[in-house]
């Protein structure tokens, strides 16, 4: 469990999460144990990319030259269909409560999850 996850944090177009076999809890921030009950009986799942916007903040003042090239960019918290919350990027006009779907977008030399309204034709999931 200590190896890098095979998801966007290591450059793959995927969002992974963990499910606890003991308490059925789900967690997004990867660990070798369940943060709710301590069990090490975890399985890794692929998220659907579907969710609802919980919060947004449009960054207009970035801190590094790499990120400054992208301003303004929208930092969002999305409550996923699978029951965990994640931080990602999103379309600049997203509103709280919008149903969204993830694709992936380049950002500062990496790829990051990027959420758009679920009705958007550009939305896709692999």
């Amino acid at each position: 469990m200590s190896e890098k996850p095979d998801d966007w944090t290591s450059g793959r177009e995927a969002i992974l999460y963990q499910v606890c076999a003991s308490c059925r809890g789900v967690q997004y921030l990867r660990r070798s144990f369940c943060a709710a009950c301590g069990s090490t009986d975890l399985s890794e799942k692929h998220a659907s990319g579907e969710g609802t916007v919980y919060a947004t903040s449009l960054v207009c003042r970035a801190a590094t030259p790499e990120t400054r090239a992208h301003v303004p960019y929208n930092i969002v918290l999305v409550d996923t269909k699978e029951g965990f919350r994640m931080m990602a990027h999103g379309a600049n006009d997203l509103a709280l409560g919008d149903a969204v779907i993830a694709r992936f977008a380049p950002f500062a030399g990496r790829i990051v999850p990027y959420f758009e309204r679920a009705t958007s034709k550009r939305g896709r999931w692999r």
Binding site: Y28, S57, V59, C60, A63, Y73, M87, G97
Partner: protein, 378 residues
């Protein structure tokens, strides 16, 4: 039992050429002089951290630099809550008889010691290194997320948030040590540069150089007697991604425990010193602490409730938003001002009655909380 027996505070803003240790030493010397204590009488030292000069043993580095040999010393790191967390620890240390006089100190040349970008980048590291930081968030963005949700759930507007910046500036006008002393209006806040919407430049505290210190003692050393009545902490998460619902944040947990520890209620409070890194921070904390109803804090600002001559004077030095924010020392200035108010030494900023004060600090992204009640003892 413990008493805040002396306080020291530098001006905040630019202190060109001064190091973190210099600013800590200036504030410490002021606090000792205020308490009427000699360096040799200090047997405990707690200090915060400096992002400009990180060190694995900052308290002993400071003690050697300042010329003291305490029996107890270490640094404490709880982000913006560090000052009050140190005060809480000092309270328990002297109460337990571990030390008689604990010097609590924080100071940093955060403005002139590094570039503003370096400050912003260093602070953004409170985010998760794998799941948040690669997305390019900033501290204002973390709080911008919280602001968007709070506004959504409680009908708070950007104009409402602007009121808190205007209030803090109005207070700072009368403090010669404040970094920003020109009055501003709601329109100024609304028209200021977008930083991490809904937060704009004037919704955000500045980066400052400065230092603050106080002495926490087992017994009073003069007839200036400010007693720690009770305090408590709560830590619910570190990363905003893992934060609980707005209704389950740590401020409400900490204040409930602190009220029980102090044996007082919000109706007993006469002066409030509340963490205000951003306008949203102050709005939320006032409501979480019970100093205003949900979504009603801005209306109370407009009605003058939190003004110097209002029912609940708040951060009369100007808070982080206008006095300034030099890191650990930032929120320690809130306690220094509370102490001056409680002891009738706040000059033209003096409020009618500050006999009982509520202080609250927040670290991270509303992650760590410390609530504390201080009482003027006769």
């Amino acid at each position: 039992m413990s008493y805040i027996t002396g306080v020291g505070l530098t001006s905040y803003g630019k202190h060109e050429g001064l190091s973190s240790l210099d600013l800590m030493s200036q504030a410490a010397a002021l606090a000792l002089a205020d308490a009427g204590l000699e360096r040799a009488e200090i047997d405990g030292t707690l200090c915060g951290y400096s992002t400009v000069s990180p060190h694995i043993m900052l308290a002993t580095v400071f003690a050697e630099h300042f010329g003291i040999r305490p029996a107890y010393a270490h640094a404490v790191q709880v982000g913006g809550a560090t000052g009050l967390a140190m005060t809480m620890l000092a309270h328990h240390l002297v109460d337990a008889g571990v030390a008689n006089h604990v010097l609590v100190v924080g100071g940093e040349n955060r403005l002139t010691g590094q570039s503003r970008d370096a400050s912003i980048a260093a602070l953004a590291q409170v985010g998760h290194p794998d799941y948040e930081v690669p997305l390019g968030p900033t501290i204002p963005a973390y709080y911008g997320l919280v602001a968007s949700r709070y506004m959504h759930e409680y009908g708070v507007t950007q104009e409402d948030l602007a009121e808190f910046a205007v209030l803090m500036r109005a207070h700072a006008v009368d403090h010669p040590g404040a970094q920003f002393r020109e009055r501003i209006t709601v329109a100024d806040v609304m028209g200021s540069k977008p930083v991490a919407l809904p937060l704009k430049l004037l919704d955000c505290c500045p980066v400052s150089d400065g230092g603050a210190a106080f002495v926490v003692s087992r017994e009073p050393v003069s007839d200036v007697r400010v007693r720690v009545l009770g305090c408590a902490q709560a830590h619910t998460h570190q990363h905003v991604t893992a934060a609980p619902a707005l209704s389950e944040l740590g401020a409400e947990i900490a204040i409930a425990k602190a009220k029980a520890a102090a044996g007082v209620g919000i109706s007993d409070v006469r002066y409030a010193a509340v963490y205000d890194s951003f306008t949203i921070t102050l709005a939320m904390l006032l409501e979480d602490l019970g100093l205003a109803g949900r979504g009603e804090a801005a209306a109370r600002v407009r009605a003058g409730h939190f003004s110097r001559d209002g029912e609940m004077p708040l951060n009369t030095h100007g808070g982080l938003l206008s006095y300034g924010h030099c890191g650990v020392g930032g929120a320690m200035a809130h306690l220094v001002e509370a102490h001056l108010q409680m002891t009738g030494r706040a000059g033209k900023r003096q409020v009618r009655d500050a006999s009982l004060a509520l202080l609250h600090g927040d670290g991270g992204v509303l992650s760590s909380h410390v609530s504390m009640f201080l009482e003027r003892a006769r």
